[in-house]
């Protein structure tokens, strides 16, 4: 499905001239249903998602999608080939409604009933939202759900979600996971999720750990998760010392 070959990305500070490596020689092949990327803040996870969506051009390396080299393709071209990208921080618009965005995502003018169906799937009371503007009057959590509804409406074989759990508080993680599972059932593609959430990592077929721009571990959740969470046991309170 998606292959990253020796992807590197670095930025140079215009003032100091200092170069910082953000992504360092990352090679990955993503074919599984659910692939999760995790790692500490600043490890390059979001940058990698943007490189896949075409928003950031890598300094070196190639990207292949279904065997086709897409490295030099723009954002729209990749989107139309079947790559979807859910933003970590959804964008607000003036005058554009939820239905407008879902229609654009679906690639056709959809009915109110269809738009409502996508909203209901992400736990939003559709009638209240379908004609609302996607502006500052919506909360971060509401925008995140609309972002997921858009990806659902796109129905592409490949989707990247950048921390979909952020801001989704009242709505249970179980529902979020159900959305991903339904999405997979519908298009049988691959879903790449950037996440810090153990419960989302738990549904992954493959877990990739990124640290300082490098892949430091990759494998099944059974292989990766014990190491990942095993090192962060709860604090123990020791009273009176040993003996």
């Amino acid at each position: 499905m998606l292959e990253l070959r020796n992807i590197s990305y670095s930025v140079t500070d215009e003032v100091t001239g200092k170069t910082t490596d953000i992504i360092r020689d990352v090679s990955l092949t993503i074919n599984d249903r659910f692939v999760a990327i995790t790692g500490p803040n600043g490890s390059g996870k979001s940058t990698l998602a943007k490189i896949i969506a075409g928003i950031i051009t890598p300094t070196s390396g190639r990207i292949l999608f279904c065997g086709q080299d897409i490295t030099d393709m723009g954002i729209s071209e990749r989107a139309n080939l079947g790559i979807s990208y859910a933003f970590q921080q959804p964008v607000r618009f003036k005058g554009i409604t939820v239905k407008d965005l879902i229609s654009i995502a679906a690639g056709k003018d959809i009915s109110v009933a269809q738009a409502c169906a996508y909203l209901s799937e992400v736990g939003l009371c559709a009638k209240e939202y379908v004609n609302r503007e996607v502006n500052g009057s919506l909360s971060g959590g509401e925008l995140k759900r609309i972002e997921i509804a858009m990806i659902n409406a796109r129905n592409t074989p490949f989707a990247v979600f950048d921390e979909p759990e952020a801001g989704i508080d009242l709505w249970s993680f179980g529902s979020l996971i159900t959305v991903f599972e339904r999405m997979y059932e519908k298009n049988k593609g691959s879903i790449l999720i950037i996440t810090h959430q153990e419960r989302i990592l738990d549904i992954a077929d493959t877990v990739i750990v990124l640290s300082e721009g490098r892949v430091t571990a990759m494998g099944s959740k059974e292989e990766i998760l014990p190491d990942l969470f095993g090192t962060q046991r709860p604090c123990r309170v020791i009273v009176g010392g040993e003996g």
Binding site: I75, S76, Y85, V91, F93, G95, I96, L101
Partner: protein
């Protein structure tokens, strides 16, 4: 009248009124400086002025759910049309007035329409006024529209004014003056798009004279290419009142936009707000729509259409 209109006039009519045929209810169609068709109803009278060009539109007190259409069509190059229209909205009436001016200039001389509209909104009356301006034509002659709107709202009256000028007008100076009595309300929503070398000046002054009156003046505009826009707005709070003026503009290419909102509190209980924001389309908005499959140009159009909706 529908049969006597040519294809160009019909097209102009559809652009400014969303109508291709003569509207229902009261109307007055002015074409090339002359009254071309008129219809009145039991509650709405339209009378030609005797001292200057123009008409008086008189709406009886208590008239409910009626509509008046007063389109102006200009298709002769070189014509400079000046018209005075006075609207008298009777007490407790609730009506819609739709005005518009369409210019088709196929020649090389300037074609201009200066419409001076005066509204007298009676006690507790409710008026929605929609005004749309549009220009087209393959000629090199300029298409010029200079509307002046004078508004007086009596006690408890309400007026909502929606104006749109979304293309084809080379030069416009839009002047709006309003005076509000006790408990009167004025809501103005203006939309302007300029391109090429067009210029648009829009100038609002609202006097909040009455106790507990209020006004919202909101302008959204898009300036493309080398066009220039100036937004002037002044709200004078002369009593216990609330006023809000806002200019929100998207600037593109080599366009220039000046926004000068002013609020003047002349009473200790006047509560006034002004806001102005000018900027290019946010990069993240374009990127978002492109990740949904739109090209950059399509994304830009979508953002502008939404903004000016």
């Amino acid at each position: 009248m529908a049969k006597t209109m040519d294809a160009i006039q019909k097209n102009l009519l559809s652009e400014i009124m969303d109508l291709e045929i003569v509207p229902e209810g009261a109307y007055n169609i002015r074409a090339n400086g002359e009254s071309a068709a008129r219809h009145t109803t039991a509650n709405i009278d339209i009378v030609t002025k005797t001292d200057k060009p123009g008409i008086d539109i008189i709406i009886k007190p208590g008239t409910k759910n009626e509509r008046v259409d007063i389109p102006v069509l200009l298709t002769k190059t070189g014509l400079k049309d000046l018209v005075y229209n006075d609207f008298y909205i009777g007490e407790d009436a609730d009506v819609l007035i739709v005005a518009g001016c369409g210019i088709h200039n196929a020649g090389d001389e300037e074609t201009a329409h200066d419409g001076i509209h005066s509204f007298h909104v009676g006690k507790n009356a409710k008026l929605k006024y929609v005004e749309k301006h549009y220009g087209e034509g393959e000629g090199t002659g300029e298409r010029v529209l200079n509307p002046t709107t004078e508004i007086e709202i009596d006690e408890g009256g309400y007026m909502e004014m929606e104006s749109a000028q979304l293309g084809g007008v080379d030069s416009t100076v839009r002047v709006t003056r309003a005076k509000l009595a006790d408990r009167a309300t004025l809501v103005i929503g203006e939309k302007i798009m300029t391109h090429g070398k067009q210029t648009a000046i829009t100038d609002f002054t609202v006097d909040l004279d009455g106790e507990d009156c209020g006004a919202h003046v909101v302008s959204r505009s898009v300036a493309k290419d080398e066009s220039r826009q100036t937004f002037l707005s002044c709200i004078n709070g002369n009593n216990l009142c609330s006023g809000h003026t806002e200019c929100d503009a998207i600037i593109m290419d080599g366009a220039r936009v000046d926004a000068i909102p002013k609020v003047a509190a002349n009473h200790v209980q006047a509560s006034l707000i002004h806001e102005a924001a000018i900027g290019k389309i946010a990069g993240e908005q374009l990127i978002k729509l492109m990740t949904l499959g739109l090209s950059e140009k399509q994304a830009e159009e979508q953002i502008i259409n939404g903004f000016l909706r």
